[in-house]
Symmetry: C2
Subunit: 173 residues, 2 copies
């Protein structure tokens, strides 16, 4: 990270719910790179409940990045309760544009991977990213993710254009 910005990364707690929703809303207005699973449709109460559940879950993690008590980024691993796929963590990372280029995405991803490596349960991390989002793809590659598929028409832009989505994964041993 740059010396000038003091960022705290910590696990989210239920009372972060409102600030997390505010962040997600801001991020979704700044970028057209988000996929559906990263856009927010929860109420504050639902988000708080989700955070409580996530805190108790052995295969979910939600981190927030704070600058002067303001949440400026989040990073998450979510996984199913179902035994057949409980070992698969779905990765999501969102950072406010003002804080891009400081290495925060890398730092958040490293924290997620490190957490996964210290669990018993996680054996695979996966993510989807719009194939035109080269910046994100190169970050994921740097951290050991490989491309498993280019999913044709995996997303639709606001103007209705069908675009490719890349499926990437990283094994956890």
């Amino acid at each position: 990270m740059s010396e000038e910005v003091d960022v705290i990364i910590r696990e989210a707690i239920p009372k972060d719910a409102e600030n997390i929703l505010t962040l997600l809303d801001a991020v979704s207005k700044e970028t057209s790179y988000l996929l559906a699973n990263e856009t927010n449709q929860l109420t504050i109460e639902e988000e708080a409940e989700y955070l409580l559940m996530s805190n108790d879950s052995p295969n979910s993690l939600l981190l927030v990045a704070e600058v002067e008590s303001k949440i400026i980024g989040i990073a998450s691993i979510t996984a199913s309760k179902n035994k057949r796929i409980e070992h698969i963590g779905d990765i999501g990372i969102s950072v406010l544009k003002d804080y891009w280029g400081l290495g925060l995405g890398t730092e958040l991803m490293e924290e997620l991977i490190d957490w996964a490596c210290h669990t018993e349960i996680m054996r695979r991390l996966e993510l989807t990213v719009q194939d035109r989002n080269e910046r994100a793809i190169s970050l994921y590659e740097k951290l050991g993710f490989i491309t498993e598929a280019i999913m044709s028409r995996g997303a639709k832009t606001d103007s209705g254009e069908l675009i490719d989505v890349r499926l990437m994964s990283r094994m956890i041993n």
Copy 2:
């Protein structure tokens, strides 16, 4: 289909809920090939509500196959309400073992594809299948699905073995 079995394929309605749950339960006991999204965790009321919603949805379809008023198979297309991915239909097909080898899987899949082709909204169908399920894969290939990825460790068997899952898709024009 064989001449000996008279099968009716029709769209499911809310009062099929209990019989559909019974079928899903029977199928999940017969095979270890199901992935998590095909296993059932709904109550009868929730399933009925889901069927009502599905009937009203422009991008979801649930078909049942009946023999003498008994539901012996189901086939579904489910899709998100989210605009970014509303054009992507997720395919699921389950048939009781007693009725395998009669071409019912093919018939159900053809109905799903035909329905998708007659909508405005659907542009991509996708499915995941355990990579060891050669029988299903060859059915999907016959109907125009191509392999987009072999997802390493995409599922875990009941004995804890991590196995590969194949992601397949078929474009709808």
